[in-house]
Symmetry: C2
Subunit: 421 residues, 2 copies
C-alpha cells in the first residue's frame, strides 16, 4: 500500500480520527476507498499544492524553518495531509525514491515517491518511445532513472563512446591509441533522452550530434543527414541556478543551449524537441495536476480539485510555469485549448481544474530588491530573457499572483483564501 502524505499513524478502521468536516464540499467519514485507509477528514479539499523544493523547503542540505511550520499547518492531528500536495523540482540527476527519502528526513514526515515530480517524470507519458533504443545523457543514476520512466532499451553516452572509440576526440589523453575497425553490429539508436547536465560536456555534445546527424548510426557517415532528426526528449531547461557561489551556476538549460547552438551552426537548422519538460513547461503542470487528482481520489476526497497553488522561488520556472498553465486552463475552459507541447501524449482531458495561482517566496533565488527584474541575481545587468528558446518572453508571465516571505506564509494565505482556518 502506498502511503500518501505525512502519515504519523494510520487511523484504526472505522475510528473518527479526522477533524469535523467543514466547508462546502465535505466528504467526511469515508473509511476505505481503493484499498487505502482514510481518516475521517474535515471538508474535502477543492485545492492542491505544487511545492518547489530548493529555495522553498530546503537550502542546500538544510531545511528552511518556515517549511516545518508550513507542514505542521498542512497536516491534521494524525499526521495526514489535509490537502493534496506534490513536490515539483527541476532536479533530474537523482532517483525519485531518493528525493522522497531526502524530503522525508528533512521535513520529518513520510513523503511518498509518488508525490515527487522530477523534471523528467512526465517522460512516463511518452509510451511510444519506451520500447525504442534511446541514448541517455545525464549523470548519476541515468540508467535507473530511464528504466523507472519506462524506457526498456537504454544506451549511455559512455557505452556509445566505448563502442565507437574514434568519436570522442577532444581529450588528447583519451584518444584511442590503436586503430579500430568500424563496427556494424551496434543496433541503431532510435531517440535521445536528455535527463540532466552530464559531466564532460564535449563528449555528450559530440556523441549526441553524431547520433542525430547519422540517424542513430554514429559509426557511419550518412549520405543525407535526416531532418526532422531522431526524437529528442529533454527536461530541465533551467539556464542558471543559485548555489553557494555569489553568482548563479550553470543548469541543464545551459547544456541544452550549447547543443542547440552547435546543431544550428553545423546543420543550419533548428534542434527540435519531441518533448521538453520540467518547469515551466505545461506538460509538467499537467502531470502534477494528474498526480494531485489521483492523490485526492486515493484519499477518498470526492470533491473535484478546482484550484492549484504553485509555490516557488524562481520567477522564470515556478512563476512563469504556473502562469502559463493558468492561461492554458483558461483557454481549455473556453474550448480553445490546444496541445502546446510537441509530441505531448496528453489527451484533452476532462479536468475540473479551473486555475493555477503562482506564489513567489523570498527564501531562494528571488529577493525583493530584484523586484524590478524578477530574475535571479545577475550582477546588476539589465535582465535578458533567461527562459528557453521555445518559450517566448512574455513579461506578464513573470508576475506572481502573490509574493510572500516564505512557504509558511504562502500556506496561510491559501488557507485564508479557501476559508480554511
Amino acid at each position: 500500500m502506498a502511503s500518501l502524505g505525512c502519515v504519523a499513524a494510520l487511523c484504526a478502521a472505522g475510528g473518527l480520527c479526522g477533524r469535523v468536516a467543514r466547508g462546502a464540499a465535505g466528504l467526511s467519514g469515508r473509511w476505505l476507498r481503493r484499498g487505502y485507509a482514510v481518516a475521517r477528514a474535515e471538508s474535502a479539499p477543492t485545492f492542491g499544492f505544487l511545492l518547489d523544493i530548493d529555495g522553498v523547503l530546503v537550502r542546500g542540505h538544510k531545511v528552511i524553518p518556515a517549511a516545518l511550520e508550513a507542514f505542521h499547518r498542512l497536516m491534521d492531528s494524525h499526521g495526514q495531509l489535509r490537502v493534496p500536495v506534490v513536490f515539483v523540482t527541476n532536479a533530474g540527476n537523482i532517483l525519485q525514491h531518493d528525493k522522497a527519502q531526502e524530503l522525508s528526513a528533512l521535513l520529518g514526515c513520510k513523503v511518498d515517491p509518488d508525490q515527487v515530480i522530477l523534471s523528467h517524470s512526465p517522460m512516463k507519458l511518452f509510451v511510444q518511445y519506451h520500447s525504442k533504443r534511446m541514448l541517455v545523457s545525464g549523470q548519476g543514476p541515468v540508467v535507473e532513472n530511464a528504466r523507472a520512466l519506462g524506457f526498456q532499451k537504454v544506451v549511455t553516452v559512455d557505452e556509445l563512446r566505448i563502442a565507437f572509440p574514434v568519436l570522442d576526440m577532444v581529450d588528447l589523453q583519451r584518444r584511442p591509441k590503436i586503430m579500430h575497425l568500424p563496427r556494424n553490429d551496434f543496433p541503431a539508436i532510435e531517440g535521445v533522452l536528455l535527463l540532466g547536465e552530464p559531466v564532460r560536456w564535449e563528449t555528450s555534445l559530440q556523441l549526441i550530434m553524431d547520433v542525430l546527424l547519422s540517424n542513430g548510426n554514429p559509426g557511419t557517415g550518412l549520405a543525407t543527414a535526416p531532418y526532422p532528426h531522431l526524437p529528442v526528449l529533454a527536461c530541465n531547461m533551467d539556464l542558471l541556478w543559485m548555489a553557494e557561489a555569489k553568482m548563479p551556476r550553470f543548469g541543464h538549460g545551459t547544456f541544452l543551449l550549447c547543443l542547440e547552438a552547435i546543431y544550428r551552426k553545423v546543420t543550419g537548422k533548428e534542434l527540435r524537441y519531441e518533448g521538453l519538460m520540467g518547469k515551466p513547461s505545461i506538460l509538467t503542470y499537467q502531470y502534477a495536476e494528474d498526480l494531485i487528482r489521483q492523490q485526492a481520489e486515493r484519499r477518498g476526497w470526492g470533491s473535484p480539485i478546482r484550484k492549484l497553488y504553485a509555490i516557488g522561488d524562481n520567477p522564470m520556472s515556478d512563476v512563469y510555469g504556473a502562469n502559463l498553465f493558468h492561461q492554458y486552463l483558461k483557454r481549455a475552459k473556453h474550448g480553445e485549448a490546444e496541445e502546446q507541447q510537441a509530441g505531448s501524449l496528453q489527451k484533452q482531458r476532462l479536468s475540473a481544474t479551473q486555475s493555477c495561482a503562482s506564489i513567489l517566496v523570498c527564501t531562494g533565488v528571488y529577493h525583493p530588491q530584484n523586484l524590478g527584474s524578477a530574475e535571479p541575481f545577475l550582477g546588476g545587468m539589465e535582465s535578458p530573457f533567461h527562459g528557453h528558446r521555445d518559450f517566448s518572453f512574455r513579461p506578464e508571465l513573470l508576475e506572481a499572483s502573490y509574493i510572500v516571505n516564505d512557504v509558511n506564509e504562502a500556506v496561510q494565505l491559501v488557507f485564508r483564501q479557501e476559508g480554511w482556518a
Copy 2:
C-alpha cells in the same frame, strides 16, 4: 645558430655548393649574412610557401607520400630549402618545439621551431597583455605555451577552480563536501587566453563566464557586470576537423561557439575578442609573412618576397584565409588597408608581398566530389556557413586559386608558375 630548412650538411665556407643561379632575381654567391652560413644558391626566391600540416603533409601520425616528394623538390642537393617555407597549423594544444620535432621525424629533415606557426603564435604580438594576469584555457602544455608566447602571469582554469571551490558545480562528484569561506586574497584576473579546446568544457565555460561577469574576481558578485568585458584573446576557430571517424569532430571553434552562445544568453550582449587568430584570420597570415621575410633575410636572399602560396586541405580555413589575406594585400597596395583584427598590434608595414594564392589539395578534408560545397564532408546536407561568427560568409573566398591532387603537385605548379625547374 638557428637552423633553417632541411639542412643535411652546412656548406664549407666559400665552397660552391648550390646549383647555378637561374631565374630573374638571382642573388647567388652570398656566403655569410647575419651570422648564417649560406649556400651559394640558385636565384634568390621571390616567393614563399605557407604549408598546412594535417591533411597536407600528414594524416594522423603518418606522412603523406606526396609530402616526401614535395620536400625532395623543395630542397637543394645539400638539403637546404630553396625557398622560404613556414608550417601553418591551427593546432594549439602542443608546443611549437614538439611540433617541429614531430615534423622533422615525419619529413626526414630538420624543421626549426621558428618555421612552425601554431594557432596561438601571433599572441606574441599582443605585448600589452604579457604582463597582465591571464586566465588560460586549453589542455596539454597550456602554461608552457602561454609562457613561450610571452605571458608572465598565467592562471589555469584548474588553479582557479581550486582557489574557488564553489564555482564548479556541474559534476556532482566534484562538488565541495565542506563549506568554504570566500577568499579575497586572490589577485584579480586581467584577461583570458583561449589556447585550444579544454577537457570538461562545463568547467572552463563556467569559470571563464565567472571571470568575465565579475571583472576578474570570481569570488564576488559584482553590482554591475562590466561591458566591454575583460580582454579575450582566442585562437583556432575551426568548428570541425576530420580525424579517423567518418564524420567531422569538434574543434576549438565549437568550444568558442558554446562560450559565445552562453555569454549572449546570460548577458544579452555579444562576447568580443580582443584578438582572434589562427587561420583564416589575417593576423596569422601577417605573422606568417613576417616569418617568411625573416627566413629569407637570414638565408641572405636579398630579393623581396612578392608572392605567397598557401597550400591547405580545408576550404574554410586554408583557402578562405589565404584569399582574405590576398584581398587585404590588394587593398594595402591601393592604400586602403585598415586593421581588420580588433586589437591587432600589427602596424601598417612596408610589405613587399603583393599576392597570396590559395592551393587546395585533395589529401585531407576536401574531396573533389564536394566541389559544389567546398566544405568538409557533412553528410550531404546543404552547406551552412561553418566559419566563425566574426567572419562573414563570402562564398567567393572559398574558391581556391588552384585545386591539385597533393602537395607535390602544388609545389610543381608553383615552380612552373615561377619559372623554376
